[in-house]
Symmetry: C3
Subunit: 128 residues, 3 copies
């Protein structure tokens, strides 16, 4: 297992980690198989989406904010970041991807994103 460290720079942000994952797979010498990517935090997530037009990630984050408001009268969690926990469960903490011929089998427009929902923070991503 290898760990990628990601420094996020905003409260909500999607950071493209495709290249980081590819580099780690090259270091590990993975030629063929499946790879699990996991983030050990409860207020960020991992997803795959378009990495060409940066407006896509803007629209994803903004719509998630609309769906899961930062403040709700019924939130009980005293840290005040319930929305980030909820988004983390909606997006998920783990991805399983396919590797063949030493390369990630992603679609042409796909990138792997760390979704920061309560930053800025230093985040870890495990690759196995």
């Amino acid at each position: 297992m290898k760990t990628i460290t990601v420094e996020t720079s905003a409260h909500a942000q999607m950071v493209d980690i495709t290249r980081n994952v590819a580099e780690v797979l090259a270091e590990m010498g993975v030629e063929d198989g499946i790879v699990t990517i996991f983030t050990p935090h409860t207020t960020c997530g991992l997803t795959i989406n378009e990495n060409t037009d940066p407006h896509v990630t803007h629209d994803v984050l903004k719509q998630l904010d609309e769906l899961v408001p930062w403040r709700q009268p019924f939130y009980l969690h005293k840290e005040g970041n319930s929305a980030a926990h909820i988004k983390a469960s909606m997006i998920g903490s783990t991805l399983t991807l396919i590797v063949e011929w030493g390369a990630l089998r992603l679609g042409r427009w796909q990138g792997i994103y760390l979704c920061e929902f309560d930053g800025p923070r230093t985040r870890s991503v495990y690759v196995k």
Copy 2:
């Protein structure tokens, strides 16, 4: 790795691909292990849900439309299909399933679905 091709026929649609996945696993001779299913697109997703009453998939798609409207004043992505990208991240692009005795270990009411959010299109699903 094998690829399944799915022709979707509507703008939003859940296509049951359980049989396609089972056939591919039989071709690959998988007896025991885990299988990763991955779609290399950014405006569709993969999920598991009930495959008995077709009203379930209707209700899932309609409620997702309510949650993520096709038009929002804040969408910046010029292609106009931000809603499909957002739903893709909410549902996910990858599933990991269990195979034993040469068969997928699904529940009695479960089917594997490709969720089309911006069709009709030709979609690929990778099975490894």
Copy 3:
């Protein structure tokens, strides 16, 4: 493959199954690898979230109820539990986790949860 049985006690509930999963992995003697956790039901899900402050799971469940109402005029599924099916697809039925040195590599605040969306019921969770 081993099966964990979970008795849920409420209509909507997040049950921490981290210890159950760890025990099953110990029984199976898993030292290093990836583990797939799968629930064969269509009205519950699996997620990872904070297991320190129980208010977090309260807030997750309540916000999901806000997003996906139990009754909608357009629901067609006659069993009346469409909301549970929709939440199941939003949260997901499968998780893939990393094991090293005989232990799950979870973050300090992370627990594995079965999310009951239409209980109380007896639920199964497969571990492979």
